[in-house]
Subunit: 348 residues, 2 copies
């Protein structure tokens, strides 16, 4: 799609790490999906100049997700894709889609805009939901990856099985997302090792920083055989943010991995992101610590705080109980149940 696509790192080159940058997609969560065209352009151009291999763009929840329920983006998918496509000369353009939010029609549109890499995401135990879309992309000849969200909720063997299934559907790469920022490095090592043993395609890791471990977890992932790492400028993303891109890259290079990214260009891009994209870089607040420990999707934050206040219970107790109940996105009703239960002392 992109005539000047940079060379992929050699699949067997042990030292090569492919950086996938979702700043303009995951970062959208931190600004209620309100990035404008000038912001997208400024960052995409800077990332492109630095040689970031993949620049992902879109609503925080991916293609087709702009809605009252998930938050209405300032720009349409069409507008976002057009701006970023135009800004990129070397970097490949990526998009993300959650089946249910997005459909084949959205994929068609993205293809028309010249998307290079499409990621289809599902909950970590529901890879079958990606089958249709991965099949469609395979047929369309577009690079299609399958990624598993909230991956801490499944044991290594299960993740390996789900990843193998994604490959059978046509995924040319698979990945796990630490959506709740729950992992410690050994957790990542175990899971990536299991997945690597089960599939022959590149494996990606996407970290969040709730427990201050995003960079260390990413390093653990490549040490265990992952070859793609997600990271965002200044960690731009919901809650405690993602792995910080301009920190991760020089750390990897110092350890002997090669990213092909220019450090000063990357730092410039991160400065642009801080100045123009976000009100402030993400930090790890107390709610982020608790939701990371509890393994709860950080998107629950506002609702947990609101309901806890209303019911007069400690939001931290609510998070830990949601974690025990293995709550997943879409189960927001559980928050009220848990808060009421705590108020009535049923859970103590």
């Amino acid at each position: 799609m992109n005539p000047s696509t940079p060379a992929e790192p050699s699949a067997d080159g042990r030292g090569d790490v492919l950086i996938h940058d979702p700043s303009l997609r995951d970062g959208h969560h931190a600004v209620r999906h309100q990035l404008g065209a000038e912001q997208l352009r400024a960052y995409a151009e800077a990332a492109d100049a630095a040689g970031v291999p993949v620049v992902e763009v879109g609503h925080g929840n991916g293609l087709g997700a702009s809605s009252l329920q998930a938050g209405q983006a300032r720009l349409s998918d069409d507008e976002m894709l057009a701006v970023v496509r135009e800004a990129l000369t070397r970097s490949r353009m990526g998009v993300f889609m959650l089946p249910g939010w997005g459909t084949t029609a959205n994929l068609r549109k993205a293809i028309a805009h010249g998307v290079d890499v499409v990621r289809i995401g599902t909950h970590c135990t529901e890879s079958d939901l990606a089958e249709r879309h991965l099949g469609f992309l395979l047929e369309a000849g577009v690079e299609a990856q399958g990624v598993l969200l909230m991956s801490h909720m499944a044991p290594p063997e299960r993740l390996a099985k789900e990843c193998a299934q994604l490959v059978s559907y046509g995924a040319s790469a698979v990945g796990i997302f630490d959506s709740a920022g729950h992992y410690l490095p050994d957790d990542v090592t175990e899971r990536i090792t299991a997945i690597r043993a089960a599939v022959d395609v590149p494996v990606a890791f996407h970290g969040h920083n709730n427990l201050g471990m995003a960079v260390a977890n990413s390093v653990a992932a490549v040490a265990a055989g992952a070859t793609t790492l997600d990271a965002c400028a200044r960690g731009f993303g919901a809650g405690a943010g993602n792995t910080q891109l301009e920190v991760l890259v020089p750390v990897l290079e110092r350890m002997g991995y090669r990213t092909g990214i220019d450090l000063y260009g990357l730092l410039d891009a991160a400065d642009i992101a801080e100045r123009h994209l976000m009100p402030a870089p993400p930090t790890i607040d107390s709610v982020a610590v608790v939701s990371g420990l509890a393994g709860v999707f950080s998107g629950f934050k506002t609702r947990v705080l609101d309901i806890s206040r209303r019911e007069g219970v400690d939001p931290r107790d609510v998070f830990f109980e949601l974690g025990r109940r293995q709550a997943v996105a879409g189960q927001e009703d559980l928050i009220v149940d848990v808060a009421l239960g705590l108020r009535q002392g049923r859970l103590d």
Copy 2:
């Protein structure tokens, strides 16, 4: 000194980690040493309530350092020590001193205020500068620790030798500071292992977060045998900040270590710190990344930026060259040399 000193973790209890909290000392660097009595009191009371074992207080550079050169603190050492002493019921009170900035007279005053733990810090290769003060404290019967700053500048064997020397002077514990935030976990493992092999006293690690590794480095330190970890609420400290206390503690507990600290109490203390002590929690900006990579003291930041602007050179080049020249605090004149050299192309 403190009648209600909490029990120390058993020296041989493999799972116990003693948390040493310098928020009210290292954090001072982030606010030009301007914390007032109400701020010190609010945080000290909250840390005490959470069961934080040691609360360190003072000017960022320690006892006696308030000056035009290092920055004048809002409160005198006497005022700071009196407020914190009064606020603590269970936690022990710590102070820090750099020989040269502080003298025996300052130590006498701290003892009169009932200080429980005194740390004498020197550059990593100059432990002999701590001899007199450690000897004085030993005689006075006050717990005295020796800590090595900018410890990445010396190889493991040298640090081990310096630590053994600190013990010979009377230090009841020793430690290494990653003042520049330069370490990756393997660096820490190597150094703590070497020190543990050389001394029979508890070993401490004090991290900074320039490369996003403060928590991971601290975990590596305890895995290698350190039993004391420094950490600050929200990472409150200069530049990229210190290891984030309320993140580190639950991570340690999850890994099976015991800190004796109450999680909710600790999160409350961190919330108080964020609300009342700092303009904003520290984040990792581009200068912090570069100074961490270069291994340069982050206190150089303002001067490097000013001089680079004046001379029309890239401050990042200045940092890397300062790192190559192994610049240490006190060598601020080097910044001008380096900037001029870069401008004249002598260093390219």
